[in-house]
């Protein structure tokens, strides 16, 4: 028996080594896939920055590379929001810019002379590969290597993520999704290991996320929710404490170092949940500690004492919180966050948020477009997460549930939902393959008993460990097993014993051979559908840079480069200090491409200023001239797409100009601009 055991151990370690090398190369290929599927835009068009916000990020990066980090930090930009100006350093999430800037600096110091623009164009694909690897790590922590690899390959080409990270789409989300997944991975890793090292890394990763995107509030609300869930379901452990408490303390400290967040990290409602849970976890920790040192009788006395005192303290704290929150006009919530909680809030009160198409709720087809077959696999993944439920899998379940809700509110947050869907689908697919291949393996004739044991060992080992993790009294065990590499052999033997025991149970779960083969074929077909759809989406739907328009007609392909021509005209024919007024969509591009001062831009921080421009746009000539003259405007940029049928021109946006203008200047009334056709009814029909 000992002979056989050592032999199998030798064979399985070889297998492990082979598996590790295989998964390493698989990951490498996944990275290549994630990078290269996003290059359609460069191949089909050119290596150019896309859309609106990326142009601002590109301009900021140029400034950073030219003037250094201190000047960037203190940059007061007098070419936007004339005459108010904008303190760029204090109002921008610097993560993306610093990432691309340091990438450029690194390449240059290695004597690879790339232009800033090239680095910016390719930042998003590079970080997509990183995001795929982070997904692998996260899913591996939840359900093992197989699920990890499947989730990674799904994420590498999920259309929703591609839409925001094709080459040239140089936006915050490009790096933020990686930071989001990586932060979640480190949280789960800390939760599984209880290591303070990973907890610190987690806080730093959270800091990077705060630097990168306003969506960091999702993390700082989701993790407390999970911690609360664990506490409520009786899964409190010291690992949970280590995973959470350092994150809140270090994370909040680090977050407040980012100028754009600053004191918001402790003063706005978005962050309050984390502090509340921070208090709760301490109370719970104290209770567990006292429970440990007191006899049960004394403990009961202590509980009544603490509960009565605690209630008083809680009431006081809640009263203070309510007073604090009530003292701020928006009840401490920013407009975007409020529209998350109440989806109709924005369209009712804040036209400037409602006017952005990516802040609208998505339609059903957009789910199919953006995550395709994952939508069907997600429920299966959720079920798989409950068999058995561990701390990690409960986190993923919570992640998908919340992100489904948020993606239903704002189409933009589909981006947060997509990784969760990939993880769930990865788990589902991997579990399904696991069950089906095992069924085949058990029934396949001519396979020796010995190798069957080994096969069963590798495929079920992780599941068995997870099984153990499910039992609360053995929570510490798998963690220990994983962290200690020295006594791996001992651990192997232990696992083997358990697996031998469970093998008999597993044999009962075997599916018929034919059904398994057909199911595998169907799953492969499903995956093939997904791949075909993703490649199509990457090539056709999401690669247009939107500053170059194309149209197909009978006599072939037409390319409209009117935007860049217009900006080039401005930069060649107007004075450097001339002010150009346009609707805010074109602000970033005008400053970046034409280098002219603009009145408003896509950073919609000052509603009054935008309303002034909206009023001027919707006023008769004389009144408009007076408004523009008071802003020293010399040129007005207007986009008209009627001739070529370009739908998103200024005529299309005109009603929003009226609405936003009327929101501040009451003499602009929306009904004055409508013909007798009842637009409200038409609107409802269109919806």
């Amino acid at each position: 028996m000992t002979m056989a055991a050592s032999e199998t151990a030798k064979g399985s370690s070889l297998r492990y080594a082979f598996g590790n090398v295989l998964s390493f190369f698989t990951l490498l290929l996944i990275g290549v896939l994630a990078f290269s599927i996003r290059l359609f835009s460069v191949i089909k068009y050119e290596s150019v920055i896309h859309e609106f916000d990326p142009y601002f990020n590109y301009r900021v990066t140029q400034y950073l590379t030219k003037n250094g980090i201190y000047d960037f930090w203190n940059w007061f930009d007098d070419r936007t929001w004339y005459p108010l100006g904008r303190v760029i350093g204090g109002t921008v999430y610097p993560g993306l810019t610093l990432t691309a800037g340091s990438l450029w600096w690194l390449l240059n110091s290695l004597n690879i002379p790339l232009s800033v623009e090239t680095v910016c164009v390719f930042t998003a694909p590079i970080f997509s590969a990183n995001a795929a690897w982070a997904t692998y790590l996260l899913t591996k922590e939840v359900k093992g290597t197989g699920a990890g690899l499947t989730a990674a390959v799904l994420l590498a080409m999920v259309p929703s993520y591609i839409s925001r990270s094709v080459a040239g789409s140089y936006d915050n989300e490009a790096v933020a999704i990686f930071a989001l997944i990586f932060t979640f991975y480190l949280y789960i890793k800390t939760l599984n290991t209880g290591s303070l090292f990973y907890a610190t890394l987690n806080a730093i990763s959270y800091f990077y996320m705060v630097c990168s995107w306003g969506g960091y509030t999702f993390i700082i609300n989701l993790i407390p929710m999970h911690v609360l869930l664990c506490i409520v379901t009786g899964r409190y452990s010291s690992r949970l404490y280590i995973a959470y408490a350092p994150l809140v303390v270090l994370g909040t400290l680090l977050a407040s170092l980012v100028p754009v967040v600053g004191f918001n990290a402790v003063m706005t409602s978005e962050h309050f949940a984390s502090f509340l849970v921070f208090i709760i976890i301490h109370v719970v920790a104290l209770v567990y500690y006292i429970k440990g040192i007191l006899s049960p009788k004394m403990f009961k006395v202590a509980v009544t004492l603490v509960v009565s005192v605690g209630l008083v303290v809680c009431c006081a704290v809640i009263a203070v919180l309510v007073a604090l929150v009530a003292s701020s006009p928006t009840k401490g919530w920013s407009g975007r966050s409020l529209s998350l909680l109440d989806p109709t809030y924005a369209s009712k009160y804040i036209p400037i948020i409602a006017s952005v198409s990516e802040h609208q709720p998505p339609t059903w087809p957009s789910y199919f477009m953006d995550i395709n077959v994952l939508a069907f696999l997600v429920p299966a993944g959720i079920i798989a997460c409950f068999l058995p439920l561990s701390d990690a899998s409960s986190f993923v379940v919570l992640y998908i549930v919340t992100s489904v809700y948020f993606s239903g509110v704002m189409v933009r947050l589909m981006l947060v939902f997509a990784p969760a869907a990939c993880i769930m689908s990865g788990i589902a697919l991997s579990e399904a393959f696991d069950v089906l291949t095992r069924s085949i393996k058990f029934q396949l004739p001519g396979v020796s008993e010995n190798s069957q044991i080994n096969g069963g060992d590798t495929s079920t080992g992780i599941v068995v460990t997870e099984n153990d993790a499910g039992k609360s009294d053995k929570i510490e065990e798998p963690a220990k097993e994983r962290s200690s590499k020295k006594n791996r052999r001992k651990e192997k033997e232990h696992v083997e014993k358990v697996s031998l025991k469970s093998k008999i149970e597993k044999r009962l779960l075997v599916l018929p051979l034919e059904a398994s083969i057909i199911a595998i074929l169907l799953l492969v077909l499903l995956g093939a559908f997904y791949v075909v759809h993703c490649v199509w989406a990457a090539a056709e739907a999401y690669s247009a840079p939107s500053i170059v328009l194309t149209s197909y007609s009978n006599d072939g392909l037409h390319v409209f480069d009117d935007f860049r021509e217009a900006y080039a005209w401005l930069s060649h024919n107007t004075e450097v200090d001339d002010k150009v007024a346009s609707w805010w969509d074109y602000g970033y591009q005008t400053t970046a491409m034409a280098n002219r001062t603009v009145i408003v831009d896509n950073n919609t921080w000052n509603n009054t200023h935008i309303a002034t421009v909206g009023t001027a746009m919707s006023s008769p000539e004389k009144a408009a001239w007076e408004i523009f003259n008071s802003l020293d405007v010399k040129y007005v940029l207007v986009v008209f797409g009627g001739l070529v049928g370009y739908p998103s021109d200024d005529i299309n946006k005109f009603l929003w100009m009226v609405r936003i203008g009327g929101g501040v200047f009451p003499h602009i009334k929306e009904p004055d601009y409508l013909v007798d056709v009842c637009w409200e009814k038409l609107d409802d029909k269109l919806d």
């Binding site: 201190y70 930090w73 203190n74 007061f76 007098d78 004339y82 005459p83 108010l84 100006g85 303190v87 200090d577 008071s630 802003l631």
Partner: protein
């Protein structure tokens, strides 16, 4: 050969080009005078001579001369235009209403004299300048109380008016004692035009009507709403004088003695010469033309102009203002020049103090708000060219290292942090090594 002739022509023309109107030398030099009849040249010779003695070159042409042209190869040949052709239905050559308007729009000056039989062309030119002559072609200004007493009892169309505009810039510093004799058509100012000024108005008892026919309807123009002579300073500082009487400029009225009815004062000489000369000096930029130069601003204690200010910086602002005297730039003296530090509204408004040599300066603190500001000087005074200066300058907030490093008020917090750190260290030490 042709090259040589062109060269000679060029050499010949060069002095004229040098004399032309320029911002450095704003007085007009070359004046085109259009007449109905060359007889005006002698009947109005005093006026023309006074211009010539002041250094102007007058080019007399008949209004229907087919060779009239204002510009050649895109360059204006004249700096000013005098239209003494009230009956001209159309001008000769390329000159028409649009050409006259373009001439003024490009910053050149104009004197226009109409008469009771003014043509539509002349009326239209005046209307373009915001002046509406009485529509009745035979109407004249009649005043039965302040007419000029003459030997024969006339129809009271020769008016002696002394209702001048109160402006030293337009009429000179010497007071015009004698009334001005006026015989012609009256006009009213277009309410939509804010640039027109009445220089000589009719008395409250005046009215505009045909003196030969019986008055059947109430006259359309009455009282001091009637303007006899008006001036306009356009936004580009082009200056225009419009008079309803060509006779006002004539030698006869220049020389005639005047006694206003109801007044015992009899003047040997009418005020016409002085009035017309002074107004023409103003029209031809010999007075009331300002320029602002050497706009400077810098931080207190520094000399160079910065590219950007910081909030709460102390700065100094100075500008030099000169007035053209006809021959040289003289320091302009005033105590009401103000500078604004402006961003959508003036955050600072300071009156500049002067050293009486044309230098105006002040110093102030940049307000505690950042943005793109402008130093604005908007100086508009009656009779002077308007000064409108604006220099854009951004104001930035503090840099990250310009704030106070250690706040006194925060010392308790510093103490709290460091004592917590020390306490934690001691606690850990005791907990770990104390058995």
């Amino acid at each position: 050969m042709t090259n040589l002739s062109i060269f000679i022509t060029f050499i010949f023309v060069l002095p004229f080009l040098c004399h032309s109107f320029s911002p450095e030398n704003p007085t007009d030099r070359r004046i085109l005078v259009l007449l109905d009849d060359f007889a005006f040249k002698s009947s109005h010779s005093i006026f023309f001579n006074s211009l010539q003695t002041r250094g102007f070159e007058l080019d007399f042409k008949l209004a229907d001369d087919p060779k009239i042209t204002l510009q050649r190869y895109g360059q204006y040949l004249y700096d000013a235009l005098i239209l003494f052709s009230p009956t001209a239905e159309r001008f000769g050559g390329s000159l028409d209403l649009a050409a006259v308007v373009d001439f003024v729009d490009s910053g050149h000056d104009l004197i226009l004299a109409a008469d009771s039989s003014a043509s539509d062309l002349i009326r239209n030119i005046a209307a373009e300048c915001g002046i509406d002559f009485d529509e009745d072609p035979s109407a004249m200004v009649i005043d039965h109380t302040s007419y000029a007493i003459t030997e024969i009892e006339g129809d009271h169309t020769l008016i002696a008016s002394d209702d001048f505009i109160q402006s030293d810039a337009i009429l000179g510093s010497t007071k015009i004692e004698a009334p001005v004799l006026f015989k012609g058509i009256g006009h009213s100012l277009n309410a939509a035009n804010s640039l027109v000024l009445k220089v000589l108005s009719a008395s409250p008892s005046a009215y505009s009507a045909n003196s030969n026919s019986k008055l059947s309807n109430p006259p359309s123009l009455t009282g001091s709403a009637i303007s006899l002579v008006s001036v306009i300073q356009a936004r580009n500082n082009a200056r225009i004088m419009i008079s309803g009487s060509l006779d006002m400029f004539s030698n006869r009225l220049f020389k005639s003695a005047v006694q206003k009815s109801g007044s015992s004062n009899k003047f040997e000489k009418s005020g016409n010469e002085q009035f017309v000369t002074e107004v023409s000096k103003w029209v031809f930029h010999e007075r009331g033309h300002l320029k602002a130069v050497n706009v400077r601003h810098h931080k207190v204690g520094e000399a160079d102009e910065p590219a950007i200010y910081r909030i709460n910086d102390d700065l100094e602002y100075s500008v030099e203002i000169y007035e053209w005297s006809g021959t040289s730039w003289e320091p302009y003296l005033a105590n009401d020049v103000q500078v604004q530090f402006y961003m959508m509204s003036p955050y600072v408004l300071k009156t500049l103090s002067t050293n009486q040599k044309g230098l105006y300066h002040t110093s102030f603190k940049v307000p505690d708000i950042y943005g793109v500001f402008q130093f604005k000087v908007e100086y508009q005074r009656l009779g002077y060219t308007s000064l409108s200066l604006s220099n854009q300058i951004p104001v930035r907030p503090f840099r990250h290292n310009e704030y106070e490093r250690f706040l006194t008020a925060a010392f308790p917090y510093y103490g709290a942090s460091f004592s917590t750190m020390a306490g934690f260290f001691i606690f850990s030490f005791v907990y770990l090594y104390n058995k």
